[in-house]
Amino acid sequence: MKIAVCVKCVPDSSVHTRIDPETKRLDRSGEAALNPFDVNAVEEALRLRETAGEAEVVVISLGPERALEPMRKALAMGADRLVLVADDAAAGSDLVATSRILAAALERESPDLVLFGQQASDSDGAVLQAAVADRLQRPLISQVAELTHEDGKVRGKRQTEYGYDVIEAPLPAALAVSDAINEPRYPSLKGIMGAKSKPQETLSLGDLGVAANEAGEAGSRTSVLALGEPPARGDTVKIEDDGSAPQKILEFLLEKKAL
């Protein structure tokens, strides 16, 4: 069985991120780390491999060359190899362009299962998996908090606004896992040291048959028009309790239609 995990390198959340006012894109020159939700996906892939007895776990990403370093964490955890699509023409790709590129990379691998982390910490979309699944024409289960795999089928339990669903899909399939699904392992020292010698492939758009105008801003269908200050929260209304505070709070809630 082959399991592909799509990962993204995001600016490390502890280092201050900013949007470059000139390109209007996220300033990615800061330190990069593996998107924390994707680490859950890598962990889940490794667990599936453990229960299945054997499987190849390949980690795939679209990003700059710098992304190789954080991606090696996945190899250190136990993934077998990594594939990075690094091409200047891909910078600034939106959902449409990114999903197109990743789908091409995934088709090249033909994995039985594609795993995603539920969302990226830098863009909060939770949308990539559905776009890629559609391009690959595979069934999708998202937000998976519990996963089982048996007889060529996967079964995922996930939370929705109303409770939980259990959804089943035959392989080949695509899944997005939530951070509730597992506690990722720490790479062992041996794992970290062994990561460098595992196969690491860097591909260009051309290697995938994706034209330059199908990627980057040219291949995107959305754009950032402007950046601005968030709307001010408004001044704090501060009151001292003289016994009437509960009533005043209630009135405030009613006025703001929060009740």
Partner: protein
């Protein structure tokens, strides 16, 4: 009452062990370097250069000839300094390979000023000869560390971040390597679902380059009886980096306010303000930890400093972009270990105390000591020699004593103790020492441990400004800015007695720049996850040990 009355529940023996992993699980490397800072990385870089021309030796050292363990997220995450760097050691290290102009420096020091501050005024005073920085280069040590790590890797070193060195592996009276720290333990030490035990990392030569308050360095000094004539003493530095509207054209040092000059306070220190390019400025407050006032808080003194007209003007319209804290060994020559090597072991950099306090310089000594350690290791690994034979690494100590490092430190050896006599008298004595190049006074003064000074309640906190969120900041938002997001349920890595009298609890509460300690009924409460691993607690009655690898601050600009 003094902090030493309540010693930390720490015994170095707990951190020395024989290798215990089964043969097939242990990790073997050629030379193991603990600490990815300037000393450790200089050692790794020099070894890479030497091994380039000695392929047979490199082959004999195995798959990983040189390994560097770094407890931070990546090299640089735990590095913090001013810094104005004397480039001579880096030039020597990179001779013929990399020019200084290619290294990540922010510019050469052209002008410098020293001020004596009062609450409202700044009196320019001539720069003491020990503090002449012309020709030196401004750097962010964190950035420099990241760059040095890249060089080390390019030279063949394997850098292992997020890996703490928890125990010194010793058997047959020689150092065999280190045991790395466990990961995935809970608050009470229990094994969590993703528990990963540490590993024995064995090496032919182990180099400890852990920086100030080095954990295994302290253990090694005890284990091998290496302590020098005087105990080590430390200062605590708290610094910030600001984006500013107008560039600063000079390097500034200040003395005086907001520190108090009277001898009874023992408030020895000052501040620095350095330009980092055209749009950044770094400023910090450094105070000796032998101070006595319970209420002294170096973080708050830094906030107070910023309210001085000289600094307020500089920072006007600017934005704080970084914050951090770290101790600096201040004992100098007198506190150096009597030897910096033992069978299979060498000690470099700040961990060994190689800091010139009056000149505020340590980075170039760290680099030089790392380079010399590499050469000694290389010699000791040659055919016909065994690195753990007692004396095999003696050449490290010899070369260090013949180097400018030793000469510099010896010359200024009595300055720090002089300042224990107060600013004015100390200043006069320091002047005399400089004029005579260390010949006066003859012999050597001595130092008492920081924790041995009687505490007093001298109301230092009365003048600290409230945090306004624009110029002045509280500790918690500063810890946040350092990038610290240590796991809350990690075991407490700070060894300290919690049933202490209120004066001591309050001392720690004010002392700690990260708000780890809180005076409560019956003692002190420790919120270890705030810790930025500065090391101040070790000077004042407790003992810092390394937490889980990868925890702590994620400095990038400090």
């Amino acid at each position: 009452m003094k902090p030493a009355d309540f010693p930390a529940p720490f015994d170095w023996r707990e951190f020395v062990a024989a290798p215990s992993d089964p043969e097939d699980e242990r990790i073997e490397v050629g030379v193991l370097i603990v600490g990815g800072g300037p000393a450790g990385l200089a050692c790794a870089i020099r070894l890479g250069q030497l091994l380039e021309d000695a392929p047979e030796l490199a082959a004999r050292l195995g798959d990983v000839p040189v390994a560097v363990l770094e407890k931070g997220k990546q090299p640089g995450s735990h590095l913090l300094s001013g810094a104005v760097v004397n480039p001579r050691s880096l030039r020597t290290l990179f001779k013929g390979r990399v020019r200084t102009s290619e290294m990540p420096f922010y510019g050469r020091v052209e002008h410098e000023s020293v001020y004596f501050l009062t609450r409202r005024r700044a009196h320019r005073i001539p720069a003491p000869p020990t503090m002449r920085n012309h020709g030196n280069l401004v750097a962010s040590l964190s950035q420099l560390g990241r760059w040095l790590a890249e060089q080390a890797e390019a030279g063949g070193a394997t850098i292992l971040p997020e890996t703490a060195a928890a125990k010194l592996l010793v058997s047959d009276a020689r150092v065999r390597g280190v045991r790395t720290g466990d990961k995935g333990r809970g608050r009470n030490g229990e094994e969590l679902a993703n528990f990963e035990p540490g590993s024995d990392v064995l090496a032919r030569v182990t180099v400890l380059a852990e920086g100030t308050q080095g954990h295994l360095t302290g253990v090694a000094l005890d284990r091998f009886g290496l302590h020098g004539e005087s105990p080590q003493v430390w200062a605590l530095g708290v610094k910030e980096v600001w984006r500013v509207q107008k560039p600063l054209d000079r390097v500034i040092h200040t003395l005086g306010w907001p520190l108090r000059a009277g001898a009874k306070y023992r408030e020895f220190g000052g501040s620095f303000v350095y330009p980092m390019g055209d749009d950044l400025v770094t400023l910090g407050m450094v105070v000796g930890l032998d101070y006595r006032d319970i209420e002294l808080s170096v973080h708050d003194l830094l906030q107070e400093l910023k309210t001085h007209p000289l600094l307020r003007k500089l920072l006007e319209g600017g934005e704080r972009v970084a914050w951090g804290a770290k101790t600096i060994p201040e004992g100098g020559f007198l506190s150096l270990p009597r030897r910096l090597h033992a069978p299979g072991l060498m000690i470099c950099g700040d961990g060994g105390g190689l800091v010139n306090v009056p000149a505020l310089k340590g980075i170039h000594y760290a680099v030089e000591s790392g380079r010399l350690a590499a050469e000694a290791a290389f010699a000791a690994l040659q055919p016909g020699e065994t690195p753990w034979r007692p004396g095999a690494l003696a050449r490290y100590d010899e070369s260090l004593r013949e180097s400018f490092v030793w000469e510099d430190l010896r010359r200024v050896r009595n300055m720090r103790p002089a300042f224990g006599l107060g600013l004015v008298l100390g200043g006069a004595l320091a002047g005399a020492m400089t004029a005579t190049r260390g010949a006066f006074p003859p012999g050597s003064s001595s130092l008492e441990p920081d924790a041995d000074h009687e505490l007093i309640s001298a109301g230092g906190a009365a003048s600290y400004p409230a945090a306004d969120g624009e110029l002045t900041f509280d500790k918690l938002s500063s810890v946040f800015l350092s990038g610290n997001k240590t796991r809350d349920d990690a075991p407490n890595h700070i060894r300290v007695r919690t049933d202490v009298p209120p004066e001591l609890a309050r001392l720690w509460e004010h002392m700690c720049p990260a708000q780890v300690y809180e005076a409560i009924e019956g003692g002190v409460e420790v919120t270890a996850s705030n810790c930025v691993q500065c090391g101040a607690i070790t000077a004042k009655g407790g003992r810092l040990t390394p937490p889980e690898g990868g925890s702590g601050p994620e400095y990038t600009l400090t």
